[in-house]
Symmetry: C5
Subunit: 314 residues, 5 copies
């Protein structure tokens, strides 16, 4: 699998601009052609240029390093956003368990916190909501089903980004819980402050999915990719001229073929880190995140009585 | 288009200091002059200086890399600000849909959230509000028009930055909604907390446009650009002296012509990233952002009834 | 111990991919084999390639430096999260000491602030709660025991992440304190604002443990590690070819053996910084952090009366 | 002006440690002396050392690059703080225009938001408040004067940092507005929430000027500047020894004279970026910022009636 | 003093691992020994290795540069935390001056804001509170003494971190002020919101001292220091072998002695920046910060009446 992954990088066919296999082939053919001309005796006067080659390739490495760093920054931002989402979901569930007394409203909250996570996953992967076998098993056919096939259909029929719909349901539910609470014990305004806190958490959840959509929809500007491609192309095309005198036939071939692969590896890595929400080996494991939310939300639900007892008995 | 883009970078006539075409021409003429003198036999005693050339050009590459990194930071900041603006707009719309009962106030809010986005676009591009065909089609001639030609005229007649005017309308409307709400159900203060949350979102919107104006109006200090130009000029002027002995006529010409183009490509890229709100290929697609706000706000409006039903029925 | 540590890095057997001892052995055997072939007269035509070796190894060093920088960022983030946790715990304790009058609720708060810290430590180290001798001495057998063996058993039996359970108890307790307070002096809403502040601190504590879990569970993407390994492997395998002409037998052996060790040292350091919550020499001293929370919480408890006197007498 | 600027950098007499003109002169005299000794035949045995010179100067360039990066960070921080200040001022003005009904209090707020900006400018430039011709024209002799000569005298007689005095006036005024509002419509607490929001903005303004004072008063530690000077001095002093064999008389002179100028250019740039609040070409244009606040605050004042109409008529 | 400082860096005896003087001596003795063996004719076959030396020393410089950058980040964080503390102290004082009417409570607040700053300084420098002559002059023997010798004794007798005690007093005082205020004008809840704001500022102060303690108590992981020492040691030990052929006796001695000093200078600088709260030349001037708080708090106190007049008269 690691070998597949490596070969996948080197010959990554999903490149946005043009097929990397053609790129590698072109560079290699060019290298062979230049070397053939040199070997057959037609030599232009270019001697001892290895220093130039080292400078050009070194500068290219520096630029590629910068790009990997920026793309890693995006990957890490995606990871942090999902980390924040997991913990905001747990906290919203904890506050619901502590403060919402009405069973129906509490259940709606509990269900939609989990549905929100799966809706985010679906949106970020351009899939319909709850369309994979695994999601259906977890949400529809669990011991306590969290949704119904009909509700899934209804949700998928709605317009706009689905995670936001879940947030609208959560907001409405929390508002209603606060209103009921405020109606009952109107002599102190505590429920209002609880409403404020729960609403802030819903805003946090909105920030998380908003940030993830931004990471997904904001590839680095096309220019940077174009120019990097251009620089790689120029450098690799010039290498046979610059290296032939020093390295001879075998050495030049080896070095330039090797560099072609290494540059493709590194730009392939950068491309993959740039889009952290896919299905590749290095991408974020959104399934595991959704399951973590599901299981921790269930654990809060189970611990609900015990926490109440402890806080009362000291 | 990619080729146009590349040639546009290399001969970018819009440079703030002086025309890059003159710059390239000057460097090339100078290179040819120095080489001609060398070829015609007048040689000063400068041998084996390629190492110096490599050091100078390497240091220049490092400085240019730093500048690209800083300019990319500005581009990314612009992108993040618009991302935040999109999601704050959606959230403000969601809260309006949940909490504002008065139809008129709700409609004003809905309209001005969208108008704010288009006003931001107009301000950042130094255009009048709603002046492009596409904007007019979306705002004036949609199925449900969001504004009228008269209102557009009135808004364009106002003094100051127009997006702030939209925020003033939103703030007034939200205040009025809270006052009505508070008057009606004065026995609990829930509406006040809702007012607090909506007002915070309006502040978020103000922060977004404020940050975008800052990015637009704060080019990097003139000194840095001047000094970078100076260093590029000195390095490229010295290159023919340093490289002639090693590379000969053809090699020196090739390398120095090539480096002139590469440096112009990279500084052109940096210049473009520095101003992310224009119409260039790599600039932020403000039209798409405005349309995203328009369509998601409409989607929230459409889902309004269904969200209410779900939150009540569990 | 420093020597052990160094040798531990060089031959770090806990590597996730494959045993580093095999890696070093393989490289060394390969180096010796290549050199043996060269010494016995079979020479391919590769002369004066030290410049290439310097470029490759330099680029590798740059990449390794980037990785150490990123991993150090994770270590520092872990440190900052625990710093924030310590000070949020002290502050929550201070607010409890100032604002909660009911002795029982105050005691529960005081106990669970400390238990939360130890639960975090246990979770981050994959140990059961309060399972080490030292923890038991501090929590069970102190002058004022903070928990009982039975409670520890009960807590360990609960589902989900235990630190969150502590937060649930704290939240319930704070809510109850605010309700009592509000019931008694319902003529001003001060208790509600105190509730808001204490709840924000509990959210801060949740953010801290959430962030720590993220740092623990989000290793850098497997690709980056794989590719770095691959680059190190290629570079070290090529070194004997490139260096033999310049350095001869002894020099090549010395340099390549040395580089193998240095690269393993640096990647070992990066690996260790990547996971800051373990038991290694450079890892964060979670025991000391827990003890700091324990002792400062006790100090706030002791100073409680004196602070009251000072604030009244001026 | 660009030429003046460049020469100003090279011979920047305002250096904190010692006069840069002496520095350049010393290095050039030293270079000439060493070269004279070499030319007159006394040669010590140092051949082919250009590589060392390249390494030393390259490392120096890396360190200088880091310093420029850090200093640019300070410049950008200063720019961001003023950006935030502009937008917090506008927003505070908007909220005043929406929520403060009492004309006198509203006028005081409007005046002191502008005075605060000019007081910040004066403090950051170590000038008395409203002492320049341009400030007096804008504040005293406008169509609607914002202050009087007497008030300016009174303010300048006060102790401490003047911007903070403006904030005290704003805070008092806002408090009074909230009290009046609360007295009148005590049946709902909306004015309290408005007070909360306006107070947060005043805190934002305090954060901005606080950050600016920090940037102004926190030069980089003296050690770093000292050590950098020391490294530049050592490198430039060693260059003639290392370069003479390779470059000969003219080359060494040219390169070392040129490097002296380039290093001074770059450190001069760093020094200027380090203190962004002065009067130099690259410094922040505080006058323009103050004028932006003045004109936008006036625009909000003018739009006040129209915003009210729109929010009511929809 | 600059010379002392420089020599202090080079022979910094306070190094945590072992005395730097021994380190320098050892390297120099080793260099001389290796050179003596070479001069006396016993030569092993290592020619033309200057390129390797340049690579090794260049990589080392890169790593040292990274470390200086990280340590500077800590210094700057310490500076920012104290900047925030100064401005949060002034703002808390302003709010007290505006909102607390009771003279006794107002005085306690005013006194403890200043005492907090001096307690922070004492804690960060491991000194008892108010133990230096200068502190006693400012706090005990000023025109208006801020504390008494007895109170200083009492405070020093308390357990735990003293700055937190000051915060407890401030919190209690503010709570009492809010309660009195709320009791008197219970018909509007404005005092509650003032309480909220003042409490947030106390939390800000706690964050500042918490962050400073973290910076002080979190040296970089021991491993990084160890490995850097190891790399410096190896590089400097290998230099004589690699440089002798190129540089000869005098050149090798000069370069290696010089590099020893430069590396010690730079690591010494990094060590000093790592601990920004000491008494060294480059450390933060905590005395000046405390005095700034003292004088600005006094200025707010003096301006109190005038600000009231202005806000009333417009």
């Amino acid at each position: 699998s690691a070998a597949e992954q490596l070969s996948g990088f080197i010959c990554n066919g999903k490149d946005t601009l043009f097929d990397q296999r053609y790129f590698i082939t072109a560079i290699w053919v060019w290298t062979l052609a230049v070397l053939a001309v040199f070997e057959w005796g037609y030599q232009i006067d270019l001697t001892d240029l290895a220093l130039l080659a080292a400078s050009f390739n070194g500068f290219l490495g520096f630029i590629i390093g910068l790009r990997i760093n920026l793309c890693y920054g995006r990957w890490w931002e995606g990871r942090c956003l999902w980390g924040k989402q997991i913990f905001a979901s747990i906290e919203l569930m904890q506050q619901s368990a502590s403060w919402i007394d009405d069973t129906k409203l509490y259940d709606t909250t509990r269900r939609y916190i989990v549905l929100f996570a799966f809706a985010c996953k679906a949106l970020l992967r351009d899939e319909p909501f709850c369309s994979t076998k695994k999601d259906q098993r977890l949400l529809l056919h669990g011991i306590v089903p969290l949704t119904t096939a009909e509700e899934v259909r209804n949700i998928n029929d709605l317009a706009g980004w689905l995670p936001y719909f879940c947030l609208e349901v959560l907001r409405k539910t929390v508002t209603k819980a606060a209103q009921q609470s405020a109606d009952l014990k109107s002599d102190n305004g505590l429920a209002n402050f609880q409403f404020l806190q729960m609403n802030s958490l819903i805003t946090d959840l909105a920030t998380c999915i908003g940030g993830s959509i931004r990471v997904k929809n904001a590839p680095m500007p096309l220019n940077t990719t174009l120019i990097l491609k251009f620089l790689i192309f120029v450098t690799l095309s010039m290498n046979p001229f610059l290296l032939y005198d020093l390295l001879g036939l075998a050495g030049t071939m080896g070095v330039n073929f090797g560099l072609t692969i290494v540059y493709n590896l590194l730009t392939g890595l950068a491309n993959e880190l740039e889009q952290p929400f896919g299905h590749d080996l290095g991408d974020l494991n959104l399934e595991a995140f959704c399951q973590a939310i599901l299981s921790q939300v269930s654990a809060v639900h189970e611990r609900r009585q015990y926490a109440l007892v402890v806080s009362e008995d000291g």
